[in-house]
């Protein structure tokens, strides 16, 4: 059992002073934004995730035709969701139809074919369907994140800043919303909202999802309110609003951003879960959860109908989670840079030189 062994005790103790020196030197003369940005870009997984998410968004948003009022921006993909091309019968395994034509040969040949993700029952291009679904899901994710983030910050800061009666009333409201089981009430609304559309559903889910954030912001405000810099601002004659938004909020922004990313990651899963149950986005509209739900039973015969939307859900959620993790590390003032082997070596050399 080497489980309880302590690692590199001796060098660790020696380096305690050196670590601080490294960490302090690093943030000398930089603004908060610069420090955060630097730390974020050092988090390799988070940067990769950011890159992947950005390219997915770009990819998904440009693939199909976009309509903003009267303006139409054509997409680069040849099929649309409405097209019903001929169903492919040739060279599919086990007598199935519409299998994917994407091919990656070991020799290096990479071919998309006519339907890279395959076709559904009636021959619609599955790539177009998945793109459309991913677009819906992304849109819902951002709407929920924005709505929940906005309400959470406003309620939390008012409650934490004014305290007393206002706080008591608002916190009861939070308790109240938390008691409502999200998935059930969302399902009730979703069932009715089938007529209203996914945007309404997203707004509604946002209206339910802000409670955790509000508590977090409130706790931060309660703590920061007592700080000396707030007293200083008050003595200097700043108004309440100015203190709240210019002095306290920037200090709490780290936790807020992290929390919002986590809300968004959760939101995409909630949306897909609801659609899967049949209460979220309903046909003829498309979302990733709905696609999985529709083709759940065909997994054994035509697994691609199941793999692709799932892959998109996981990738998007994974990216958002990693970005959140990177941001958390970047904003955490206690977080020091991990001491690498190279740093250790340098510090040892310095100590030796000092002796």
């Amino acid at each position: 059992m080497k489980l309880f062994g302590r690692k590199e005790k001796s060098t660790g103790e020696i380096l305690a002073g050196g670590e601080n020196a490294i960490a302090n030197k690093e943030i000398e003369g930089l603004s908060q934004g610069q420090i955060v940005r630097r730390r974020f870009f050092r988090h390799r997984a988070a940067v990769i995730a950011l890159g992947v998410l950005a390219s997915i968004i770009l990819f998904v948003m440009t693939a199909l035709e976009t309509k903003i009022g009267p303006i139409r921006i054509p997409g680069w993909w040849k099929w649309t969701v409405e097209d019903i091309p001929e169903l492919r019968f040739e060279d599919c395994p086990g007598g199935t139809t519409g299998c994917p034509t994407i091919s990656v040969n070991p020799g290096g040949a990479f071919g998309l074919g006519t339907h890279p993700f395959g076709q559904d029952d009636i021959g619609r291009d599955y790539f177009a369907l998945v793109m459309n679904g991913a677009r819906r899901s992304l849109m819902i994710m951002f709407v929920i994140g924005t709505v929940a983030g906005f309400i959470g910050v406003v309620v939390g800061s008012i409650s934490g800043f004014y305290g007393k009666k206002v706080d008591a009333v608002l916190m009861r409201l939070v308790d109240f919303i938390q008691t409502v089981p999200t998935i059930i009430i969302a399902a009730v609304i979703g069932k009715a909202a089938g007529r209203v559309g996914p945007l309404f559903l997203a707004l509604f889910l946002g209206l339910l999802g802000w409670t955790g954030l509000a508590r977090l912001v409130r706790a931060q405000f309660l703590q920061l309110r007592e700080m000396e810099f707030v007293d200083a601002a008050r003595v200097a004659g700043a108004s309440n609003i100015r203190i709240a938004f210019k002095h306290i909020l920037p200090n709490a922004i780290g936790q807020i951003i992290v929390s919002v990313t986590l809300i968004m990651a959760g939101a995409i899963l909630t949306e897909t879960a609801l659609s899967y149950l049949g209460f979220g986005v309903v046909a003829p509209d498309v979302s990733l959860g709905l696609l999985i739900s529709q083709y759940e039973s065909s997994f054994t015969t035509r697994p691609w109908l199941f793999w692709w939307p799932g892959l998109f859900i996981i990738t998007i959620a994974l990216c958002v989670n990693f970005i959140g993790d990177g941001l958390r590390d970047a904003f955490d003032p206690r977080q020091r840079r991990r001491i690498t082997k190279k740093d250790r070596l340098q510090a040892k050399l310095q100590i030796k030189a000092g002796e």
Partner: protein, 499 residues
Amino acid sequence: MILFGSSFLVYNLAAYASDPLAELRLSNDDGARQAIITLTRDLNLDVPPPVRYFLWLKGVLGLFVGKLNLGMTREATSVQEELLYAIPVTLRLVLVATITALFIGLALGIISALRQYSRFDYGMTFLAFLLYSLPIFWVAVLLKEFMAIQFNNFLSEPNIPIKWMVIFSLFTGVFWSSLFGGERKRFWSVFAGAFATNFVILWAIDYTDWYLNPGLGPILIALISVGIAFGVTAISTGLGNSAAKKAALTMAGLSVAAYYPVQWIFNNFGSYLTILALIVVIVLTSMGVSRIFSKIDNGPITRTAILTGVITGFFIVLDRIMQSWAEYSSTDAVNGRPVPTYGQRKDQLVTEDFWINNLDIIMHLILPTFALILISLAGWIRYSRGALLEVLNQDYIRTARAKGLNERTVITRHAFRNMMLPLSSLFVGEFVGLVGGAVITERVFGWQGMGTLGIKAINGYDLNLLMGVNLLLSILVIFGNLLADLVYSALDPRIRLGK
């Protein structure tokens, strides 16, 4: 008060969002017209929703005078009865999943924190994020395909190909070596050891066709129990404590000696009561055993003995359940495909045998529990890792180390207990969350629990049923939060509510 408000809101939202008679109104049939009239009368549909809510509330408040009335469903059955049937099903599912996930997650999180920035730690962090991002229904379908259908196919022609043995052993090798490995040499020796052990075990399983007629038998039980005795002693008191070691080994020995008598008891009086009685016997015996060996400081030694006894006992029970496997899988209802993908019991399975019935329940639990565990494991790994790292940075840990306590005592006594504080309140929240989350699991695996009731209610515009489910979930949330606060204040001496 909050309960009142939230149920009022949900009731009215649901009442205005849905029209239970919509379908019936569309048809011109005489029967439909009749149905409208009966439904309107039974469900008081002629009363506007805000007022109708108070009619419903009156029934709920009847609880205090012993006449709880949650109203009727559309099919004119009582909501209470439906709920009473559904609650144990959901509880069984969620409780097993939460507790298992808690144990596995805690273990992984703690090791990951103790080995911060190691390969294992990075692996666990990535695993946690991956699990966070998995939609449960997606996982569930994959599990059905690969753990049930393919495994059942495999059982009909049981033969582990060498290729899979190698791949599987490679995985185990990587796991253990990243766990214990430090220097390169050590890494490879652990890797080789784990690889070889796993390979031999798999080969033995394949050679003896163990999965067709599994069981541990007295010899394996003896080996396992000695291993448990050493393991429990190492964690609980340290191997240096010879009294604890002797007590644990005696308990292991006694359990093995009791193997055959216990088999006879199990075969003739198989019931939950027997198992309970067995646990009591184990606890009493271990108290006696530890009395014999301990001179001073009886507590930790008793604890070690009890833990050893109970865990060994668990393996003996497991062995007994495994012995029913062959009989179970050859029944007509199972027909050689023992891993089910659907439902919570096999209705066709008619047997009086306690062990076979339990095996049936366990087999039906496996897939949904596995899916739920995968989902909630991520949280536990992250929480416990974070909590332990936080605690290890505290001054009292430094003090404990400074006064010369060994690392085991520092971790298990000082760090572990403090780390459990924030986790204890999370447990309740996680449990409540899973009850809500079980909606999807239940639907995928076809369980008739609370979630299925909820879906049925929403789809059928069945207001009373919906409110019943909703009420229960809300009560669970409120009591869960209350319980979390109470547990926290009981555990943490720093918190004193109301002076």
